[in-house]
Symmetry: C2
Subunit: 251 residues, 2 copies
């Protein structure tokens, strides 16, 4: 068994806690959170603490599932020589860990929320460590969580996280524009869902640029002008900029 | 049986021809195309013609699966009194049909290509007609093609098509940015596919705005500044504009 202490109570911490409790490979021996009430639901499954001095010193792995901007400051307090401390942030270098310990990263590349079950469970866990032994441990943990891992250094992980902002956060925002347009004209947004699925499906076996369709890529200036007239404000700015970008790319 | 004459050889025409040939409800009696060689592959299945004077006058339905900008001019040549002529364009009003005939619209709301099989086949066909009898006929045809229809007037269909540009064309372009970022750093784009799926999946039972995550919506100015520094040119412009838009929406 791999003994783990988990820090935090956010989306990733909650997801990991659940996975670990159901695991026969990983033993969640303790969960720390500054505010005990947020992890109280775990009290029958594991040891819960809110005092950093009570951290169990004998775990194989310490996972800081904390906000990016507190990782450095928080980790400074950890004196765990020869133990492995990791953070779970996509956008934070391994160097930001300031614990007296071995260091690593365990970044789940997925949109995870406390309130919604993840549908696509076989997503990659991006791992990084300072030595082979620790990397091997993180591999085992990743395989147990999702069955899928990728070894990436901090520089690559930062780029991957940036790409994720485009394909996840920004894509979701475009969905919300689609929803707003439909709502304003009393059209059911559900009508667009097979198209949304197809758009995501098509790039599984094709390059996105080869799948590009629509008025922009076919330089259909009549439709572009007509659609720009239907839009206002920031929606119009987005339409114009993305149309331009698609046209530039295909020149 | 519903007797159909189909016009065109593009993506939608090819898709419809295939559906109709396999149908026991619809009888594809003729396909017209200006250039006969593009529809030659259908010659063993149906009558193919390239002369408008040879159009069969006895069909129940004439489907113009033609480019938006030639629908008016082409339809003017059709003298088919009391027969139903429809176009398949999302962005074109029913009024653009200038045939001497009844008029309607049959717009498949899906990303359809000759070269890729549609995965999500149960997509809506948006229909419009001038009278109940014609609408009933279009319903039957839509149900036979995909099992799913929506009755929308030209104004609503135009708005739906605009929403589709955001959730399909623009989303695909954001996928291509994700791919470009990965490629430039020698990272496998495949890593992002479970996240892409999850993003599309989550909005099935939730409003997109409630699913918004990422640095923009949580006003994480540290990460935003860091990511902007990694970008250049139009990718940076898109990052900044979409970040601003997400922040404006959530204020």
């Amino acid at each position: 068994m791999i003994n783990v202490v988990l820090f935090g109570s956010g989306n990733i911490a909650s997801f990991l806690a659940k996975q670990f409790i159901n695991s026969e490979v990983i033993n969640l021996i303790q969960v720390y959170n500054r505010n005990l009430s947020n992890i109280n639901y775990l009290k029958n499954q594991t040891d819960i603490v809110d005092d950093i001095n009570e951290i169990n010193k004998k775990a194989d792995l310490y996972i800081l599932a904390l906000k990016d901007n507190i990782i450095s400051k928080f980790s400074k307090q950890l004196f765990l020589p020869n133990r492995l401390v990791v953070h779970t942030s996509g956008n934070t270098s391994i160097d930001k860990l300031k614990s007296n310990s071995d260091k690593g990263v365990l970044y789940p590349l997925q949109s995870i929320s406390k309130y919604n079950e993840v549908v696509n469970k076989n997503f990659p866990i991006c791992i990084e460590a300072e030595n082979e032994k620790d990397l091997l441990l993180l591999k085992k943990v990743a395989l147990e969580i999702t069955g899928n891992y990728a070894i990436l250094n901090s520089n690559k992980r930062e780029q991957l996280h940036l790409a994720a902002v485009f394909v996840n956060n920004f894509v979701n925002y475009l969905y919300s524009i689609g929803n707003d347009i439909c709502k304003s004209k009393n059209i059911s947004f559900k009508l667009l869902k097979p198209l949304i699925d197809e758009t995501a499906e098509k790039i599984k076996n094709n390059l996105p640029k080869d799948m590009q369709t629509g008025p922009a890529v076919r330089n259909d200036s009549y439709t572009i002008a007509k659609q720009e007239k239907l839009l206002h404000g920031i929606q119009k700015e987005i339409y114009t900029l993305l149309t331009q970008a698609i046209q530039d790319k295909n020149e």
